[in-house]
């Protein structure tokens, strides 16, 4: 399972909610400030992404776009 995860550097405000909600630890804290001065997280392990989209749905700035490359056979209970 893996995904392409894009984090928009113009809109990300470094709130780190994506780190919090990701059940697979895909994200890690950022080390470089973006143009707005925020420490945007990085998707360090996109290969571990299960496509739950919690990060994309939670992001208050719609800064995360997740494109799932391979779907898991198992489906989530929540729709």
């Amino acid at each position: 399972m893996s995904s392409v995860i894009r984090i928009d550097q113009v809109f990300c405000k470094g709130c780190r909610l994506c780190l919090e909600v990701c059940p697979r630890g895909v994200y890690e804290a950022g080390t470089e400030r973006n143009a707005k001065g925020y420490l945007a997280p990085a998707a360090a392990r996109p290969e571990d992404c299960i496509g739950c989209l919690l990060c994309e749905m939670t992001c208050p700035d719609l800064a995360i776009t997740v494109t799932v490359i391979k779907k898991e056979k198992k489906r989530c209970a929540a729709s």
């Binding site: 809109f11 709130c15 780190r16 909610l17 749905m57 208050p60 719609l62």
Partner: protein, 273 residues
Amino acid sequence: MHPLAEKMLRKSALPSIYCPGCGHGTVLNAYLRAVDQLGIFDQISHVGGIGCSGWTPVFLDSDTIHALHGRALAVATGLKLANPGRKVTVFAGDGDCTAIGGNHFLHAARRNIDLCLIIMNNEIYGMTGGQAAPTTPSGARTQTSPHGNPEPTLDACKLAVCAGASYVARYTVAQPRRLTRAIKEGLVHKGLAVIEAVVQCPTQAGRYMHGTGSPVELYRIIKEKTVDLSQAAGLKPEELAGRIVTGKFHQDPSQPEYTEQVYGLMDRARGGS
């Protein structure tokens, strides 16, 4: 830019005024998904009040009215009645909707007018710097309750149900899928759909009431406090104190809807059926 943002946000009004980690953004996120899944963005006019929540309609690339504090529902009532064929979504803060706008909230619910009302509840007046609101927990420290809030807390959903709103639900930022589903149901529901979204306010409520400005810590607090309606039913009042009860409290599309009543009256006055 996220494809939904590209499609539906008013670029000239960005960046948003939301602080880093503000829960309002998550609600906007859920709204965009709901609207996109229904494919009805062009059918909706948006009205907002004053406060951080009230800016939400401005960020939407649609017909937008940024109304006076507390008056979004009154403006939306006129807008809807003048052109009943269009949908109207109202974004209001908890203070805007239940304090200064309380009377319009009560009567929009009583009339059961066909609007989708999203109350973005961060339990504080955020824009003005963190003052107590009717939804602020008792005892909480805010800028206008430095010795602790001496007032009881208002449950906007209970009020909505009592007053006559025909769809009432509450979810939090930690329930994005359920929130999206509720918004979808509210948008297609005929009558007043009240969806309260409980959100974190890192800058004001976070720092003053919870002693932390961390969006992550406040998110955890909201999750911790949340109890679903199905479980809340079995809890005693003391056990429920300070908890956030989420779920769908009421849904009845058969209740008379105000716009239909008014236009039906017009038809009869003109000699129609």
